[in-house]
Symmetry: C2
Subunit: 324 residues, 2 copies
Amino acid sequence: MSASDRPAIVRALREGGSFLVLLHELPDGDSVGATLAMLLALRRLGKRAMAVGADRVPRPYQFLPMAEQVRVTGEVSLESWDIAIVLDCADPERAGDAWPLARRAKKLINIDHHVTNIGYGDLNLVDPGASATAELVYALVRDLGIEVDRDMADCLFMGIMTDTGSFRYANASPRTFRLAAELMEAGASPEALASSVWESRSISSLRLLARALTTLKVSDDGRMAWLTVDDVALAETGADEQEVEGFVNYPRSLEGVEVAMLFRPMADGRTRVAFRSKGRADVSRVARALGGGGHPRAAGCVLRSGPDGAVDRVLAAARQEVSS
Amino acid sequence: MSASDRPAIVRALREGGSFLVLLHELPDGDSVGATLAMLLALRRLGKRAMAVGADRVPRPYQFLPMAEQVRVTGEVSLESWDIAIVLDCADPERAGDAWPLARRAKKLINIDHHVTNIGYGDLNLVDPGASATAELVYALVRDLGIEVDRDMADCLFMGIMTDTGSFRYANASPRTFRLAAELMEAGASPEALASSVWESRSISSLRLLARALTTLKVSDDGRMAWLTVDDVALAETGADEQEVEGFVNYPRSLEGVEVAMLFRPMADGRTRVAFRSKGRADVSRVARALGGGGHPRAAGCVLRSGPDGAVDRVLAAARQEVSS
């Protein structure tokens, strides 16, 4: 582990009295899963503990144990906690407007697996070799001598499963597979978890997908492909914004495509762009060149132009990365 | 293992001189992966070995080692082999027109993980607890004392990954995850394998998907959903028949849907129907009632009527299973 105060963190978890656990903005399966597992562990230790995030727990994760107890920022009064634990956030801003709540804690613990984590905690457990932050929470749970029950196993498995794209991405290591085996033995149900994430679509989201796919464009060399989803498509299908997430994986799934994009023209005249790479191209460089940011394989930016202008600018920038 | 002549099979693999290995019709990742791993093992033992199937190796598996050496039935002359090994076939008919080639062998070995396997071999290794036939080939390879190299690991991992839906289905056990870890350590590349299966779509298949999704229908109670793909859609998008496979998973992915169907009206006036269940309903019963067959979660039939008549008949039959 690259920056590890692991023994000190275990002591702090044992000795602290009250804990605030932070999710990141637009939480994914790892943010929610790691948070709920931590919450369960703290309750098991008899601690006062609360989880808070800038956004609500998305629907696919709402069935997880204790998910209904996660608060959004506005519901939490400013009070002083012994310890704030920030999970799965490369930097504090990732926690959005929940971050000010954490700053008032006496001690800050930063647990994360992003290689770009800046080590902003008083105590840091940052391991880019972990497939998910849930892997690190699992390690702490075992250090604490807490038995992993079915509820905790489901939460931890959810984090690992979603962050590895169901064990398909390069971050899935032999260790990841062995942890998954252990979590199953502790009671995790991969099938039910996967079903909630990948088999609980709304009809409107399938109708929106049908429409989005009709906008598919592929560059002449076949290495870039993109979709466009505008407000009209959302309104006419009755789908909501969250359901657009993930559509960028369709152009990404094309043979030969290295960089996939999703253009989302917004009501204010700007266009939000999501980038995905299959691995060779570094889309974080493209996004940064356009004023955005992200990871080598997943990045984004917002451009001050309508969809047509945005496509032109983005293709020009992405083409350099694709041919390099 | 429910019917296991495992030690006798290991002896037969050591002692035989020539081997014919059979794939099943329309081979999937497990049929191809298990076959190629067996072929690699036999070559390692210095045996004469050939693999044959009724159909060509589908595109996503063609990059696997030795895939180019798999023969289709017409390319193989009738000769007598010491041993024929039939893989992943619940009954001999599953091998299609490759089966007569196997019948001429002096000894028949049946290796499979389907619960319905009828034990048709002279020697049988049938284990419904195995996630994939590749798991059983792996067990034999270890019994033989053969070191698993990168090529073999990729083939075995492919079988396990595809038959468990990327470790999501109920057949993925803790043992499955541990085998996956071992295969990674032996050199398997989950990311490359997954990319070949799930990220190598053709543009025409995405265009066909867009069209197919516009045909989405959902029953009033929300428990059945279906798509229809006709010849016009295939012709106008330039997609081919194989690319329709898997589309039934889109209606299946809807929240609340228990049974999903795909209707494929054919040129001869009949309609082919594919069924998928999320687990509660047994679609093999529906398919059998309509003259077809299959497994509880995946089944099919062919009806002597056009699409409209087929939908009416199928819904009537499926409704009983859904409400039971």
